[in-house]
Subunit: 358 residues, 2 copies
């Protein structure tokens, strides 16, 4: 890593010490940066563990020495003129908090890179999180903060284990993209740049949501079992996977993103990896086994944040309104509407086959 | 099924009694057709079993009574004027044989539906199998036989168990598409039509080939084991999956197919399902664990037909020539070239990360 350390060596603040923020902090440290990993008010246990012996309890790795851990109140002390990049590693519910926390100290020239994935509703429209950040920062007189985001198939635990991972960094600012690509240039991290911030962000958010449906197949298999001839239900899962990609393409186009992103790392790639492991797939499996959402959540995953379900709860009623008002073509997103019904209205998830693959 | 039986009721010959031909024969029977399942000269054991008690030994199901099994020599006796459709259920190596077998008896008005997947080389070009069939039939003075093909995520054993499956039927003849869609209209079989025969066929063939690479990730995991923090290698698999889709798109465009097919059932959908189970993934896993192809084949899968590897052996040298001659952009298909090296030249499969995601 010594050569990389000579090449760059930036002071970077990662806000949020959850698994993704912390794994990303290690990546930045590996490439020679000085990283300050700042916990949110919910992360104190993690920070305590990191301060004690460097171990991240969620990632189960010891972070390198050039990741320094700080508690939430220490943020103001380290927000000095040397900071070259802010990374948002909070979850989607923490974006407003992160903006409020960083706003008073931020210089407009320091870019923000968002690991946080999600969508939000503003003025009865569905918007990407960088828009929320932009609006939030304007309250602090910050109007031109350069924004970027990461998409693609990157499970945090694997990144923390330095296993081969491929991502796309997205920003409308191509100069920023170049800087960011150099900051994360590690041999196990294959990053490419894209200017399609909208497409990448829409895909990154929706892959969690649609994984609920792909996971449904595993739940059906669980409850019905293999067929007498030993057959599973891979065809079912693959059909749902394909419809998910088609609907993601519709949403990406609708919000102004590019088709290309949907079949790339942030779309098909991240949907693929999300379907292989994780909480969204697990919830989908519970739904597929016949449980209703609220029961599945309270009995089986009471403490888990299920990002896909959270997204359904955030955008669900708006999605229905936009569909009813004709602003979203209901025939283009039949699976999304059923997922919303399953999560928001606690209905059984039924697969509307006749409406698929149009 | 009674209503379907009234609606249609065609005599259909399925040539090839392997797992896919036979599962498809059952589907056609379920929708009320009279199906003659004719074994190739390699299928006599299967035909014997079907004649004895209706059981297909590979599918492990008992086929319905309106699938009647016939030995290869009986073909001429059943090729009468009532035959409405021929289905090719042979594997890719059997296409020339199937054409030679059916050619002398076929009427030009009877369409052929191809379940067979693969690509071939003609005049130093890579072509889809329907082109091979078309050329082969012209020897018999048959110049306008309507051709169609099936793509999409459909594991034969699951189809045989009547589990939900989604496919795309492709033909440049839209009238034929309509007929075929009505012939396969079963509640567990979700078929859509497409006129992109080239795109569907290219995807259907290449998904086996690229699954060798996605399976590589599982082999790497097998040999290196989970990381100390418990992390697997899903990110690696998803990265390879994404690059595979990008290269499939290049090949589809090159051969004159449509982009849309690549992110649909025949492309992303079928690649997804093929990566979940089957022989191609198993061979990929062996390669990922560090074995060279020839050793992996002879020691672990001596009797298996690995369609993706067969395809590499068929198109490998042509692909290299076309790349060297500049007719194929080598930077567009770096993974394909490494797979070809691994299979044709018995080299270790190395992942050219720097060339990915361009």
């Amino acid at each position: 890593m010594e050569e990389a350390a000579k090449k760059i060596m930036a002071k970077i603040i990662v806000l949020g010490a959850g698994v993704m923020g912390s794994a990303f902090a290690q990546l930045l440290a590996d490439t020679g940066n000085e990283v300050c990993l700042v916990g949110t008010f919910l992360d104190q246990d993690i920070i305590d563990s990191l301060l004690a012996d460097g171990t991240h309890p969620g990632l189960k790795v010891r972070l390198p020495e050039n990741v320094r851990a700080f508690s939430n109140p220490e943020l103001e002390n380290i927000m000095d003129e040397h900071v070259r990049l802010i990374v948002f590693g909070v979850n989607s519910a923490g974006v407003d908090w992160a903006v409020a926390r960083i706003g008073p100290f931020l210089k407009a020239s320091v870019p923000i890179l968002m690991l946080t994935k999600g969508l939000a509703v503003q003025n009865q429209s569905i918007v990407i999180l960088p828009e929320v950040v932009e609006q939030g920062l304007s309250v602090y007189g910050l109007n031109r903060v350069p924004l970027a985001a990461v998409g693609g198939p990157c499970i945090a635990g694997e990144l923390a284990a330095r296993r081969q991972s491929s991502v796309v960094l997205a920003s409308q600012d191509t100069g920023l993209l170049e800087v960011l690509l150099s900051l994360v240039d590690a041999p196990y991290y294959h990053a490419r740049g894209s200017t399609d911030l909208v497409g990448i962000e829409v895909c990154a958010a929706l892959k969690n949501f649609y994984t609920l449906a792909v996971g449904f197949a595993a739940g059906q298999l669980d409850s019905k079992g293999p067929a007498p001839n030993g057959a599973f239900m891979h065809n079912l899962a693959a059909g749902l996977f394909t419809q998910a990609i088609a609907e993601m393409r519709y949403f990406v186009q609708l919000l102004g993103g590019q088709n290309r992103s949907v079949s790339g790392l942030a779309g098909a790639g991240d949907l693929y990896v999300t379907c292989q492991a994780g909480r969204n797939g697990r919830m989908g499996k519970l739904l597929g086994s016949g449980l209703l959402y609220r029961q599945a959540k309270s009995e089986h995953m009471p403490k888990d944040t299920i990002e896909g379900a959270e997204l359904a709860l955030i955008i669900g009623s708006t999605l229905k309104q936009l569909t009813e008002g004709g602003k979203i073509d209901k025939d283009a997103v039949p699976l999304a509407l059923r997922i919303v019904e399953a999560i928001c209205d606690n209905q059984p998830l039924k697969i509307p086959w006749d409406l698929f693959y149009r």
